[in-house]
């Protein structure tokens, strides 16, 4: 393991260098308004950072993300536990949740705008809808799996229903819940960006939108790089947290 980690990192760096080199080469050949070179995008990124635009937008987007994801997680965990504990409820709502889970929820933007307006609260609703089904699905699956695995153990040691829930089902499901929040975070990020682009312009969404409307591909790309790095860091952080919470689970819920 240790012996391979260094070469893997070297290969990854080589891959990035290669892609950036091709990007730079092509960008210098072609029309910079359609396809800006890497250095040009980097320059724009620096300009964004130096002017403070990016920092403010970043904070706004993260604020929306955190609030929406927090509400989505709490509601998702509660609903997931309730549904996961009852086979009839699970059978009743499984189709709906499955469909909702698979639907791109930014398609709900027009409805959310109609019902809740375009402000921060309406945007939170969209982010909430973006992530809640991921949390519900993962929590439900975790509760069902843990219940199946340990039902007889808990019963043979004469645990009450409450004891079984507190001592077995809840601790056993924590890692699944975390996987759900990690998946939900990805969708919440999409939702937050969509909300800020198409509802009341704010945060990173508004920066992207503004860049697009002024045909500044270099600005758009600078935003995309920011988003990509942010998403990667958030996901990696959640994975770390999951591994700390459930080090025995090296399988992952989704992949």
């Amino acid at each position: 393991m240790k012996r391979r980690s260094l070469p893997d990192l070297v290969w990854a760096v080589l891959g990035i260098v290669l892609i950036v080199a091709v990007w730079q080469f092509y960008g210098q050949l072609t029309n910079p308004f359609l396809f800006p070179s890497f250095t040009r995008v980097l320059g724009q990124l620096w300009e964004y950072i130096a002017s403070g635009i990016l920092g403010r937008a970043f904070v706004e987007t993260m604020g929306l993300l955190v609030v929406g994801l927090a509400i989505g997680s709490v509601v998702g965990i509660v609903v997931g536990i309730v549904i996961g504990s009852n086979a009839n409820l699970s059978a009743t709502f499984a189709p709906f949740i499955q469909v909702a889970y698979s639907t791109p929820r930014i398609a709900l933007i027009p409805l959310v705008m109609l019902w809740f307006g375009v402000g921060f609260n309406a945007q939170v609703v969209l982010v909430f809808l973006s992530c809640v089904f991921e949390v519900v699905t993962a929590t439900e699956a975790g509760v069902q799996l843990v219940t199946k695995q340990y039902r007889e153990v808990a019963r043979s040691f004469r645990l009450s229903r409450l004891q079984t829930f507190i001592k077995v089902i809840l601790p056993g499901s924590v890692s699944y819940i975390f996987s759900g929040i990690r998946l939900g975070m990805g969708s919440a990020f999409v939702g937050a960006l969509g909300a800020q682009m198409f509802m009341q312009a704010s945060g990173l969404g508004s920066v992207v939108k503004h860049a697009m409307q002024s045909f500044r591909t270099d600005q758009v790309m600078a935003c995309v790089i920011t988003l990509a790095i942010t998403a990667a860091v958030l996901t990696a952080g959640m994975r770390r947290a999951e591994q700390r919470i459930a080090p025995w689970r090296n399988d992952s819920f989704d992949d």
Partner: protein
């Protein structure tokens, strides 16, 4: 009934008591199983008979194995005794009390260990004591006592995932023994282990269990395992599950690997195989 009547050392249960000095058998059985019927319904079959007229009297302090091919209902019977599975008719009593739910006198060891990966070894062993409401300090001491008994004293703070399969099952055994059960039920406890570990752990478990007074009921499909460990063996035939015969295993105690080279051992082994062979054939044909 299907057993070869020509083999003279085999006696059926009620007639003869085994002359084990360690276990003076009182007249009253620990577990009384009479006329138990159990059927299952699944998507594929309706009312599949899993157990037909099962009768067995488990003596206090004995080690009895329920032996048979897979699908013969031996695990179902064990879970009925554990109070985990309801049965259709007949009676199952523990010390004259009918079994309707898991009894506080019973603890169980599971085939796949059933350990909680988020708890340490000590936390796992404390589990049954927590449920029983044993206060913290006593709980910890009791857990340590049984962790030491199974030889895992150094691993109290480890998590199950850090232990080998054999060590994990020793945790499973310690967890069950820690509640000081009068009856210990073991559902293929060595089934998930490799052959080498299985053999080592069998003898180790035997010496651990000699330090307890518990009555032990073991489910296994291994003839050798049943012979090495038990005082008596109930041999099952499948579909529907039924006890063909109950054998006294009159091999000397304490047992170690050398017991397998005794002529007596070979003869009993042969006898059981002869009893199971027609059953196995029938099973293949169906």
């Amino acid at each position: 009934m299907a057993a070869d009547p020509g083999v003279s050392f085999v006696t059926r249960a009620p007639e003869k008591q085994p002359d084990l000095a360690a276990a003076p058998h009182t007249a009253r059985p620990k577990v009384w199983i009479e006329g138990v019927m159990k059927s299952y319904s699944s998507k594929a079959v309706d009312n599949l008979l899993a157990l037909r007229d099962v009768n067995l009297q488990v003596r206090p302090g004995e080690f009895i194995s329920l032996l048979g091919p897979s699908g013969c209902g031996k695990t179902t019977l064990l879970k009925i005794i554990a109070g985990l599975v309801p049965f259709d008719s007949g009676r199952v009593d523990i010390d004259r009390d009918p079994v309707t739910e898991p009894s506080s006198k019973v603890a169980m060891v599971f085939q796949n260990f059933g350990l909680f990966p988020w708890r340490t070894v000590r936390g796992n062993v404390e589990f049954g004591l927590e449920a029983a409401g044993v206060p913290g300090k006593l709980r910890r001491e009791t857990a340590e006592e049984y962790i030491n008994l199974v030889g895992l004293g150094r691993f109290s703070n480890s998590h199950p995932s850090q232990l080998s399969g054999g060590m994990q099952q020793r945790v499973g055994l310690a967890r069950a023994l820690a509640v000081r059960p009068e009856i210990l039920l073991m559902d293929e406890p060595f089934g998930a282990l490799d052959a080498h570990t299985r053999e080592l752990l069998q003898f180790e478990m035997l010496s651990i269990l000699q330090k307890t007074q518990a009555t032990i009921i073991l489910v296994t499909h291994s003839v050798d395992e049943a012979l090495v460990l038990s005082d008596r063996i109930a041999v099952f035939s499948p579909s529907p599950g039924h006890i063909m015969e109950v054998l006294d295993v009159d091999l000397p105690h304490p047992r170690d690997a050398a017991v397998k080279s005794l002529p007596r051992y070979a003869a009993m082994r042969q006898h059981i195989w002869d009893a199971l062979r027609p059953v196995a054939k029938k099973d293949d044909a169906s």
